[in-house]
Symmetry: C2
Subunit: 407 residues, 2 copies
């Protein structure tokens, strides 16, 4: 029998009606002749509510106890979906992450999956049951419940699909798939039928919110083909799989934007070796993720170093760097929280020269000033003023004819 | 080191402030030189809220999935109390029922504890940690989470105290202990310093709401001395232990009342063997608990059988008995939902004759008509009209001088 892993996010199981709807989708699939494993997240805002409860008790909860608390959200979801399936006449069994054989490491609140032992799942599938697995959680070598951090339920689904050698992995969400860009910005944005892992990774890294990069990386590593599709529609979604040659015919697959960026610059740093190392190890210590980094050297041999961080990390970043500025004898620590990032992504770039020039020209023609640039093999990202980002996305969407591509 | 098991009910951990208060009580005890195991229930109304969620999905949830859902309540409590203890500088670890080694049987939603393997608890106690255990839950031989039914957290505490050979077991609640009767009915009601297991059992069976009988039975079986006391006061509560001879000096320890009773009578049943068996097996099949039973035989050899049930079971009872009435050819099936039960309880009754007569006389002097009587070695219970029950309790409390006893 063919096997499918279906994953439903929190918004898909936010209340009793939605849980029943999801049960209906699962049963359709089962009746289509599939063995079905379902992975669910906590209902709606429950995870946020639990975090609020914890904050009422202490501002600094121990991570092990936080995991004990947060794991109840997914456990409630699997029980409710199990009930809904039974009520519709479908035999089903819910399993917590530990019961499902999902073994994780010790890193509470952001553990990695180290192994899956799907004996119990296979045993229940053989009975013809739908197996409902709690996403986002596993068990560590201490027999403690651990959670997998942001995007953890996607990760559970992808890892289960790999371990079970599933024929299909479907990530159900409240959008219809992966779009050429944010449809709220560009009404012409088009749903993509397929996309490569690498493109999906670059889109996620550049702020497209469909899925966390780590789940895509695991899918790529284990070659799990998955489909991002809508819980509330029957239309096919976007298939994500390894690159095939015909993908290269498309130069740019999508445009990502991230409004919540901030730029920080340390200026006039006397030239000494190890300057950058000092700065970025201070930031790493404070657990701040840095994105683009630009270093420029002036004629007088002093350096300027600029980089971008998520806007929510700006305060922490400045606090972590002020002592570094002093010890290095740099003149100033500047910041700008009115920037945004726009990026074009596509595996076709590699075989089509001149893509960067086309991007920069299109922005220049529309009086959009580029403050920073970073590139990878399949992505070109620019930092621009935040108030110009919507226009930039529209300009680029048109320039690379994303509204028109048909395959 | 001496060991104490402290149990806190749902009202004691209903919100963040209360959880912090409980943490304070636990730390006091730890500083008093005890090793401490804490058992907690789900916060406040959470169990009821979860049941409501389930009902939104289906009116008839499978018991296994119901347990999966309900167990999240206690899991949230242990995590929050674990956090509160850490925040106050006390090392602590929370354990779910399964993690704590509480093994239960297959009877979902009302399982019995079959064994406790406290290896993990002892391991953590040796590290100086407070161990916070989820009440009301265990793991069955299928590795499924099961819940223990009403009063399950008390049961967890008593069973843990027995398995750990604890020196003390404290049941914290929102009253100060066990009273001679309901203080809302008799303002003179007095908190008892001590009471025997059997008296406590009879009081629970007769409607005193402090604790479920099954927990007291387990305590009696394993000779676990426990104390019922208040979460919100430092005053000593009521110690419950095995009978000692001086207890017999007190004729009546307490008076229980239960307003929510109903009487059902099957009248003029043609005399045949097996009449009562047919009736009560029909009720057992419908899972109805029957309390007092009275059978009387008329001169014409026809029988009347009357019994009492909880008022909430009345409808179910009549539905279950109507077919029995027909098949037995009984004349009528009558019911009365305006009755109540009042009972006097005391181990001293055994050695003091005439207690029943004194009770009946006191009621008669106050024009309170007795409809049914049942007795055990240490209890005399009467069914009376519901509108007379408050007065009956007052009369009996005075008759047996419960407001005046000092030990």
């Amino acid at each position: 029998m063919k096997l499918v892993v279906m994953k439903f996010g929190g918004s898909s199981v936010a209340n009793a009606e939605k849980v029943k709807h999801v049960a209906g989708r699962v049963i359709e699939k089962k009746k289509g002749g599939y063995g079905v494993v379902v992975v669910v997240s906590a209902p709606g805002d429950m995870t946020d509510d639990l975090i609020e409860m914890a904050k009422g008790v202490t501002q600094d909860p121990p991570p092990r106890e936080m995991d004990m608390l947060l794991a109840t959200g997914e456990q409630a979801s699997i029980a409710l979906l199990g009930m809904a399936l039974h009520a519709k006449g479908q035999d089903a069994i819910s399993l917590t992450g530990p019961q499902a054989g999902i073994f994780a490491d010790h890193d509470h609140t952001r553990a990695r999956i180290v192994q899956i032992e799907p004996k119990k799942i296979n045993f229940e599938l053989k009975k013809g049951r739908v197996v409902v697995v709690a996403g986002f959680q596993g068990i560590n070598p201490n027999q403690d419940i651990t959670t997998l951090g942001r995007g953890g339920s996607d990760l559970t689904a992808i890892a289960l699909a790999a371990a079970l050698k599933a024929d299909l992995c479907e990530i159900y969400t409240d959008v219809e798939g992966v779009y050429t860009t944010d449809p709220r910005v560009v009404p012409d944005a088009r749903k993509l039928d397929e996309i490569s892992y690498d493109e999906m990774l670059e889109l996620a890294g550049a702020g497209a919110q469909v899925m966390q990069g780590r789940s895509v990386e695991v899918a790529k590593k284990f070659n799990v083909v998955f489909e991002v599709r809508s819980t509330f529609s029957q239309r096919p979604g976007t298939r994500v799989h390894k690159e095939v040659s015909k993908m290269e015919e498309v130069i740019v697959s999508g445009i990502a934007l991230d409004r919540k960026q901030a730029k920080v610059s340390l200026v006039e740093i006397p030239d000494k070796p190890g300057v950058a190392a000092k700065m970025f190890s201070a930031l790493a210590k404070a657990a701040i993720n840095v994105d683009m980094i630009i270093q420029s050297q002036a004629l007088d041999q002093s350096n300027d170093i600029s980089f971008t961080v998520g806007e929510s990390d700006l305060k922490k970043t400045l606090a972590a760097l002020e002592p570094v500025r002093e010890s290095l004898g740099a003149k100033d620590l500047l910041h700008d929280a009115s920037i945004a990032k726009v990026a074009i992504v596509g595996v076709g770039m590699r075989s089509h020269p001149g893509v960067a020039a086309r991007m920069f020209q299109a922005l220049a023609d529309n009086k959009i000033n580029i403050q920073m640039i970073s590139t990878s093999e399949i992505k070109i990202a620019c930092v621009i003023s935040r108030d110009q980002v919507d226009n930039a996305v529209k300009v680029l969407h048109k320039e690379f004819k994303l509204d028109k591509i048909k395959k």
